[in-house]
Symmetry: C2
Amino acid sequence: MPQTPHCSSCPVRVTAICGALKDDELKALSMISRQRRIPAGQVVFSDQDSSRFFANVLSGTVKLTKTMPDGRQQIVGLVFSPDFLGRAFSFNNPYFAEAASDVELCCFPHDAFESLLKDYPSLQHRLFENTLDELDAAREWMLLLGRKTAEEKIASFLYLLARRHHVDGCANQQSVAASFELPLTRADMADYLGLTIETVSRQLTKLKTRGIVRMVSSRQMEVPDSAALARVAGAEGISN
Amino acid sequence: MPQTPHCSSCPVRVTAICGALKDDELKALSMISRQRRIPAGQVVFSDQDSSRFFANVLSGTVKLTKTMPDGRQQIVGLVFSPDFLGRAFSFNNPYFAEAASDVELCCFPHDAFESLLKDYPSLQHRLFENTLDELDAAREWMLLLGRKTAEEKIASFLYLLARRHHVDGCANQQSVAASFELPLTRADMADYLGLTIETVSRQLTKLKTRGIVRMVSSRQMEVPDSAALARVAGAEGISN
DNA sequence: CGCCGACTTGATTAGATTCAAACTATGTGG
DNA sequence: CCACATAGTTTGAATCTAATCAAGTCGGCG
């Protein structure tokens, strides 16, 4: 049985696109929403099927992937906790969305949501800004994929996670030793960074040996000096 | 002296974002517009400076680049003829825009244009759809940069150009031998594809030797069998 | 206990980069 | 008009980074 959503107690109420809505608009949105849990490894939606929907990610990580006929795969986007999932204004969604971990979603049926987009300019505007940010991120990643070395790629990814302090709990001071869990397997990291599993593993141990990171377990990372990590990451780690 | 724009005779009137506008709205937009010519190699706008504007590209090619401190560069977007140039709703533009060829622009001052965006939902919506398409393209390119071989990268790029039948003149039948000019130097192709100049050159001669393309000159290409090119390009050349 | 998936490590190979040189087209000044 | 400079391009040889192939280790779970 679908859970009734309670926006008032929603963990992403303010940070998600809902933050752009006035009370009555939020109510209309909540009317069409429905929470769903999706276990790790399951398909959220395929680039093939038509049963499409939009969603806010409440917890967990969703990966958007592109696959070539021969099986080569690239993760083209990671969707974390307050982020929005779905491609508006397109008949067929061009990505394959898969749960990288157990995921909680707040789902909106495709047509109902798009009609709300029409009715609420502030919602559309928020989604627009969202999309612009995604585009910036995608282009940043193009620099990584096209020009960075394996070591820089790994460091960039870890630095990205450290900044998002992807912890689900303990908040960190600015630029203090960060501790976070890797939301992806080695295989997924490889697909995100344009590498192989083996190279990912080797570069991680290299960073460990160099003292840039500590690995509590294969998934649990600690970064004693985030500036050092940023330096290894190569670029624009200077700003931001 | 700035040329007075005449939307009625504009080559991109319908295809550009202007196509979303009603007559009176178009008039308001044309009031703030101003045509500019920018010679090849010149900076259109920098990721540093604040003197920003938006523009429709009337002719020529603009490249959006990201550069690392040590000089490594990646082209993260190519802006062709009816496309729109500029990043809305952001104080500082994150890309460096440079004319890859002589370029004609129809420019709009930053603030005036953003206020029009507020006033004309249809304009904002058009720009939103535009941005979604750019995001799709960026992610498609992520697959190329992360997973394709040098040969597939080159073939994909040529196939992209063939589809856009980037000719400035002779229109081509669907899926018939295409002839087009490369809008980029070898160095720029390398920066777009995440390769070196030498590899680009080698792969081009390889495609030439295999009979996939003919090279009338170093810039003028002919594709006898676009399906064969698509096959070499690797992926999703099947659709579209 | 032993299986299984995720991860690590080692040896070898291949594809692309790097370094180096030469070729082509275009434009300039003597 | 030709010699020469220059930017863009091609080609060759050597090198290196990351991929591939191949074992092995770790950790959880039936």
